[in-house]
Structure formats: structure tokens, C-alpha cells
Symmetry: C2
Subunit: 191 residues, 2 copies
Amino acid sequence: MELLKEKILREGRVLRGDILKVDSFLNHQLDIELLNEVGREFKKRFQDKDVTKILTIEASGIAVAVIAAQYFNVPVIFAKKTESKTLDADVYEGNVYSYTKAQQYKIRVSKKYIDKGDNILIIDDFLANGQAILGLKEIIDAAGANLSGVGIVIEKGFQQGGGLLRKAGINIESLAIIDSLGEDEIVFRNN
Amino acid sequence: MELLKEKILREGRVLRGDILKVDSFLNHQLDIELLNEVGREFKKRFQDKDVTKILTIEASGIAVAVIAAQYFNVPVIFAKKTESKTLDADVYEGNVYSYTKAQQYKIRVSKKYIDKGDNILIIDDFLANGQAILGLKEIIDAAGANLSGVGIVIEKGFQQGGGLLRKAGINIESLAIIDSLGEDEIVFRNN
């Protein structure tokens, strides 16, 4: 998606070699017009899927997911990272390993909101190690629902997640795939 | 807002006297059509304010804020509750006291995204004790920006936040104010 790549080149900043800061438009300040273009593009790429629900994970996946949901006319569910007094006791759990924090944590979705027949589109802002997506897939599998695909705004193509998930047969659409990150250069994969 | 009140009566559940569960449409599963009506209503109520940015707090405020932002044509900024490697070192901080957890925590916004001249509309899903709003106001004040108003989806009118903030001269618009919560009855304030 050209508009997104241009935005990354213009506003993204690279820290310590492998961190891409895009907090001017994607995960702190949110550029709503751009998110609308992102949502429209996801709809185009998944238009042949009969998506019934969009699943994401708090917090920064929520913005992308809700804007995209307007193009699919479906509800969004966001998996919770923390136990909450307002979350049902009856939940599907997924396990996510965080490389940054070197620890595993659980994500949860109430059983009420995913049904057997659901075709779920996962949407998230970043794909790096793919662990969050695997945790969400665990939840979808436990519910007996169908994973229609995964829509990612920015994939770090130099990390293992994309390869791992594609090898597992998951249909991933990343709107920008970065093959290498340097202080002065961001190289995109042609996709 | 009648549509919202009807939804609360139909789908809300009351737990242990003072907890209102609305996770079927507002803070776990998200009803995008309803959020669009909520966004439209906020625009109506704040139409005379020259809002330049919407500020919210992760996580469940994000969904309401981004949908509403489409009616204001402004960016959203969400304050972060945790320190993040992708957040700038140069931040405005607010203090939020959590009655539930009986402890204070900090919320942060990068200094880059709030300017002196900004007219900020705060949007959040719930108003109970008002502590989150006070923390966000601290950030706006520190930036020398102007707080144009506060848009709340559901206010627990039987808790102190609404009174506290109105007494401080803050312009709050709550789309549903609940005066009392019981297992079998939810009483709304006429507003």
C-alpha cells in the first residue's frame, strides 16, 4: 500500500536498529484518514471471505480494527491482556510469549463472543515474532471458529513471524513489509 | 441518547451492585454501528467547539475516540498506561488514582502531540470516580492546551466523578447517566 509506505518513510523513525517508531500515526497519535485507507485496503484484500467478526488485541490493534470493521459491517472483539472484573469467568485463553519481556502472558476472550460458525479476521498493527497472532489463533481454534485471514498494517519482514505463520498455512495480508531497517534507510519488500 | 439507553437496558448486566457489564457492545465486543451513533452525538454536542484533537486513554477509550474522530476530522492521541520502548522520553505525565486497585499510576503522552494552541476533547467510555479524566486534564494543562470538553458514553451518576468535574467547571457531556444500579433495575437520569 503506497500511501502507507510513504507515510512510514516520511514519519517513521528507527531506534536501536530494529525498532520502528510510528507513533505519529499508528500507535500513540492516530491518523484517522490513513486508518480509513488501511481499512478500505483490508476490505479489498479480504473481500472474498465471508468475515463475520474481527478479532484484535488491546491496545493499539483496537484503532485499526474498529475503523476496518466499518468496511466489513461486523463487530470487533478485542482480546484482553489483563484479568478484569468485568470479563466473564468463562473465557477462551491464548498464550503469548513476549520476546521483549522474556515472559509468557495470557490473553482472554469471553466465550460468548466467538461462535463455532464464525469466520474471523484478525487485525493488528504490527507483525514481528507472530506470537500475538498465534495466541489469537489458539482462541479461535478453541472456539471451533474459522480463521479467515490476518490483516497486518506493518510487518517486520526481517523477523520470524511472517514466515512462521505463512508456513502454517495462514492467509496473511501485510500492507507494508519491511525487509530491513537502518538509521538512514527503510527497505520495503515488493508486495 | 435513547438508542444507547435502550442498548444498556437490553444488554447490560449488573454485578455486585455497582458494576455494569456492557462488554457485548462497549468494552470487549464493540458494536461499530452504535459507536458511530455515539460519535455523531458527540459531534452534535460539541459542534460549537473548535476541537483540534481528541485525547483518550488506553484501552477501551480508543474505540469510541477513533470512531468519533471521524466526525471531527481530527487525530486521536491515546495516553499510555505503561512505559513503552516506543514512547518518547519527553512526555507529559498525569497521575491517576485507581480506587479498584487502591494505587496510583501514571499516564503519559509524548510532548510532540499536544501543542499550546490545541483545543482538546477528551473522550472515554466510562466516568465513575473521574480520576482518569483528572489525569488527562493534568497532561492538557501541562501542555498549555485548552480542554474544550469531555465526552463520556456512560456516566455512573451515583459515583463522585461527574459532580467533581462539573464543580471544577469542566464541560462534560455524558450520553447516558445512571443514577442507580440494581440487579433488576437501571435508573437513568433525565438528561
